[in-house]
């Protein structure tokens, strides 16, 4: 009877998975599972199901078999989370008995290397179930274990916590990189024996198996060398699918800069994580390859300019890590060794030793020794002969102890990650400011990023969003356009682009955007939001509501979709439905100030001004720099007869955002209704300079003059106001103007008594039988026929 041997089969399955041949992988995994009933095979099959996009199947499988591998349990928790079975997911992650749930330390102990991700998932569960404090705690712990988890930082910011990115994004606190990159030699149930992937150097150049490859099942030989021997893309193959897929991000990044290294052979510097960005103030500022790949002689030339510090011990975890520089500069081959060094994190710390793996480690140790030797006397002349196994440096090689190796490996890893960490610190600081709505500060921080990072979709869209929150829609649109040029497939934050266009009333651009986005991603809530905005701008509110509903169905946890739907319901006067939508948005994201504003608007429309004020103030607390919100608060305060408070608020708004003409408009209105006519006049005259083509400014000027008794000026301004309103959008204009124009302010007898705009009673009943442009000649006739028809 033939027995299926586990190892080669597993390797084959991983190979398929890494090439996204999910049906093959699943089939093989199912056969393997039938043969070998081990936790690993179950985990492998579940992984196949999950990656094929079938979390339900993965869940059923794992639930029935209950493997004890941490990674498998993590996968089960993830499936539960995606299937909205939050209680189950939580109990898996931090279960224990009801009376004694586990603390976060227990969780990290239990999940080993997957701990950071398990905590991250736990944080997401807490956020969904509205336990902010616990979520923040879990996020922080997760970041402490693994500072590469950007999404944990994002969640922390979105919860409203003020986090110091400098403290978060540092590898100084890490004892080992196992949490970030997976265990050396593969964790439980992850990868098969790597020995077959331990690629021998095909040519003398001396390939390096990618550093983290031991954690990846699929290992690609990556030439660490310059000479441009390797196509730039090769480095990217390193980031293969691994069981701990989040770690891909890490590997991907490291691979990325390796590839960039390769691709920039001969360039004076290689911009990438592995290097200090040129414009950051670092010694020499030139690229500091992180001991991984030094691809070009030019690099080594750079290295020459720096002191070389021998030895690991001197390596300090900061950007000014000369040792790394010197290390990389001195020899290509040494870099390879450095690569290899990182691989076995600590031989003594392996969770599961496999016999196959020791084969890997031993050569590494040898290389390690060689490396140490080379380290001792770092020479900076370029090594002309890449590839040979010889370390050019002389030997005061002493084989290091395991302990020292461990420390050495760790320091190298820390150094190599430092480039990324420094970038994350900068980016994180900017994001933190943005989440606290200190938008100008965020803009400054983002603009200070190095050019190649600045020019990416994410950074530009964050800039767009920052300007959006500042109500500077023109600038926001400019940034979003740049994003569209660079990354037309990018869907995140496109909803803000569409809203900015909505505010600017650019119909053509908005429909073009909606059309493009719909081509790319019909399964994405942002796309449907953009489509809804497009139709809303064209006043087709029913269609807009349909699209926003679709957005909400596609991603129920997308708060902005609910908010937009709410706003649309407000437009169609379905205020109860709107309220439900806003409340849902707020329950998803309590810091979504837009939804608080929406609730406030509903109360305002119902003339419940106290409640409106409360909700507007709520929104303002979250986003204190929004002049629009301040205007709303001010107006509502005036409606509540708190005129002084209103004026204070409006003054603050004007000081904060002088570009917002409405602050002055509202202040002028408040002056007008408080009979402070001269101040109103002054305000409006300034406003006239700011927005010379706004009909309502002239209308208000007319009202002021009318009240002051300047009939002629009033009529003049009213007629200007009408001229500026060719579409006749404001019927009230005509109602208020006609008496003034046709009869003069003193003549009241033909007017019906509706208390009008300012307590004046000079209104003609709106008679819409005429077209909006109908002027005086028809009035007498209409008066006549209304008598007749009775």
């Amino acid at each position: 009877m033939k027995m299926i041997i586990q190892e080669p089969v597993q390797a084959a399955i991983w190979h398929c998975l890494n090439h996204y041949a999910y049906s093959d992988a699943t089939f093989l995994a199912e056969r393997l599972c039938a043969e070998v009933q081990s936790d690993e095979s179950v985990h492998l099959l579940a992984t196949c199901y999950y990656r094929s996009g079938r979390p339900g199947q993965a869940h059923t499988l794992l639930h029935s078999r209950q493997p004890r591998l941490p990674a498998a349990r993590y996968l089960l928790a993830l499936c539960c989370f995606e299937l909205d079975r939050l209680a189950e997911a939580e109990s898996i992650l931090s279960g224990g008995s009801i009376l004694k749930p586990k603390g976060h330390d227990d969780v990290s102990g239990e999940f080993g290397d997957s701990a950071s991700l398990a905590l991250r998932l736990l944080a997401r569960i807490y956020i969904r179930t509205e336990r902010k404090a616990k979520a923040a705690e879990a996020c922080k712990k997760s970041l402490k274990l693994n500072p590469f988890l950007w999404s944990a930082f994002v969640d922390l910011c979105n919860l409203g916590e003020s986090v110091d990115s400098a403290k978060v994004f540092t590898t100084a606190g890490l004892d080992s990189f196992a949490m970030c990159q997976g265990p050396a030699g593969g964790g439980p149930g992850t990868e098969p024996a790597p020995q077959q992937h331990h690629a021998p150097a095909p040519h003398g150049v001396g390939h390096v198996t990618n550093v983290n490859i031991t954690s990846t099942p699929y290992q690609t030989p990556v030439t660490a060398l310059g000479g441009g021997a390797l196509p730039p893309g090769c480095g990217l193959t390193v980031s293969k699918a691994t069981p701990d897929s989040e770690k891909d991000a890490v590997r991907g990044k490291q691979a990325l800069f390796r590839s960039q290294l390769n691709s920039t052979v001969g360039s004076p510097y290689s911009p990438s994580f592995g290097f200090l960005p040129l414009d950051t103030p670092s010694p020499g500022g030139e690229s500091l390859p992180l001991g991984l790949l030094s691809s070009s002689p030019a690099l080594t030339n750079n290295a020459e300019t720096h002191d070389t510090k021998p030895g690991f011990g001197r390596r300090v975890l900061n950007r000014k890590d000369r040792a790394m520089l010197g290390l990389s500069g001195s020899s290509v081959k040494e870099n390879n060794k450095a690569n290899r060094l990182v691989t076995p994190k600590s031989p003594s710390r392996k969770i599961k030793t496999r016999s196959s793996k020791t084969a890997l480690t031993t050569p590494n140790f040898n290389e390690l020794n060689e490396k140490n030797r080379s380290e001792r006397q770092l020479k900076s002349e370029p090594r002309g002969r890449p590839g040979s196994e010889t370390i050019t440096s002389a030997a005061d090689a002493k084989p290091l102890t395991g302990q020292q190796l461990q420390v050495a490996a760790l320091t190298i890893q820390r150094g190599s990650a430092e480039g990324l960490m420094s970038l994350l610190r900068d980016v994180g600081a900017a994001y933190q400011q943005l989440s606290q709505f200190s938008c100008r500060r965020a803009v400054d921080l983002l603009s200070a990023l190095p050019a190649h990072q600045f020019d990416t979709g994410w950074v530009l869209s964050m800039l767009g969003k920052a300007h959006f929150e500042l109500n500077d829609y023109k600038q926001a649109v400019r940034y979003f356009q740049m994003v569209r040029e660079r990354e037309p497939y990018r869907l995140e934050t496109m909803e803000y682009y569409s809203t900015a266009l909505w505010h600017l009333q650019r119909e053509v651009e908005l429909s073009a955007l909606a059309q493009d986005l719909l081509d790319h991603g019909r399964h994405s809530a942002e796309v449907w939001c953009a489509a809804g905005n497009c139709f809303s701008l064209q006043k087709e509110h029913e269609t807009a509501i349909r699209f926003f509903t679709r957005a909400v169905q596609v991603t129920p946890q997308f708060a902005y979709g609910h908010t937009l739907l709410g706003h649309e319901y407000v437009m169609t006067e379905e205020l109860e439905k709107a309220l439900t939508c806003f409340r849902r948005a707020v329950s998803i994201d309590p810091r979504h100030y837009n939804a608080w504003y929406g609730i406030g608007m509903i109360f305002y429309k119902q003339e419940r001004y106290t409640m409106a004020e409360m909700y507007f103030k709520n929104a303002l607390d979250i986003n204190p720099q929004s002049s629009v919100l301040m205007c709303h608060v001010g107006v509502v305060q005036h409606n509540l007869q708190k005129t002084d408070a209103a004026l204070l608020t409006l003054n603050r708004a004007i000081a904060l955002d002088p570009a917002n003409p409405l602050c002055k408009f509202h202040r002028a209105s408040v002056f007008l209704s408080s009979e402070r006519l001269q101040e109103a006049l002054d305000e409006l005259l300034q406003l006239k300079q700011m927005v010379p083509n706004e009909s309502l400014v002239f209308f208000l000027l007319g009202k002021v003059h009318e009240k002051m008794g300047h009939a002629h000026l009033a009529r003049m301004h009213f007629s200007w106001a009408m001229d500026l309103d060719p579409k006749g959008a404001n019927n009230q204009l005509k109602e208020a103007i006609e008496p003034a124009i046709s009869r003069g302010p003193a003549d009241d007898d033909k007017t019906a008594g509706e208390a009008g705009v300012l307590g004046d009673s000079s209104f003609l009943p709106a008679d819409m039988t005429a077209t909006p442009e109908a002027a005086e000649p028809f009035q007498p006739i209409q008066a006549m026929e209304s008598d007749e028809s009775l």
Partner: protein
């Protein structure tokens, strides 16, 4: 007795254009429509489809009624009716009455209008008590008599318009801002 309505002779009023421009909002979709009588195939759907070719034809005694019942009290600014004497001749309404109220039993007549060979859109602006905008649950359009004393009536299209609520807040009800520079700051979205 028959009066010329100058409003009909004025430039063509296009309710669709008004809706598109955002000056008014069509709220017929928020209501339940019913007719006193109709010929099969010539009912509410033909009255509310966007085509002027199809029409409602009544099939019973006068007055012919169109009932529009809203789910909640709705502000109605005007009702637009399309009628064409050249096409409908004796089916063209002659005397039309608009009534409003909370239900069938307390409808109050708002306007009665005599039409004379209309061809085009007729706009009935509606006002509530004290000349405030009309807020109502039930709107009824009654055709009392037809041209040439026809029994049944044709009506080609009916649109019910509500005023557009302004988006932002203002101290006084001045309406909405005309320029983009101002209107973009009027509300958050």
């Amino acid at each position: 007795m028959i009066t010329m309505l100058p409003s009909e002779a004025v430039e063509e009023y296009d309710p669709y254009k008004e809706e598109r421009l955002g000056r008014v909002r069509e709220v017929g979709n928020q209501a339940v429509w019913s007719l006193s009588t109709c010929k099969p195939g010539f009912g509410v759907d033909q009255l509310r489809d966007l085509s002027l070719e199809t029409y409602w034809q009544s099939d019973g005694p006068q007055p012919h009624l169109i009932n529009i019942q809203f789910k909640r009290k709705t502000t109605v600014q005007q009702v637009c009716i399309y009628s064409d004497f050249k096409q409908d001749e004796s089916y063209t309404p002659n005397r039309v009455s608009i009534r409003a109220g909370t239900s069938f039993h307390d409808l109050r007549e708002l306007e009665v209008r005599e039409l004379s060979e209309p061809s085009g859109w007729l706009v009935f602006a509606l006002r509530g008590a004290d000349d405030r905008p009309l807020r109502t649950y039930h709107l009824q359009i009654a055709v009392i008599t037809n041209h040439q004393n026809g029994r049944d009536t044709h009506m080609r299209q009916v649109r019910v318009h509500a005023p557009v609520e302004q988006r932002g807040v203002t101290v006084q009800p001045v309406g909405s801002f005309v320029s983009v520079e101002c209107s973009q700051y009027a509300c958050l979205r």
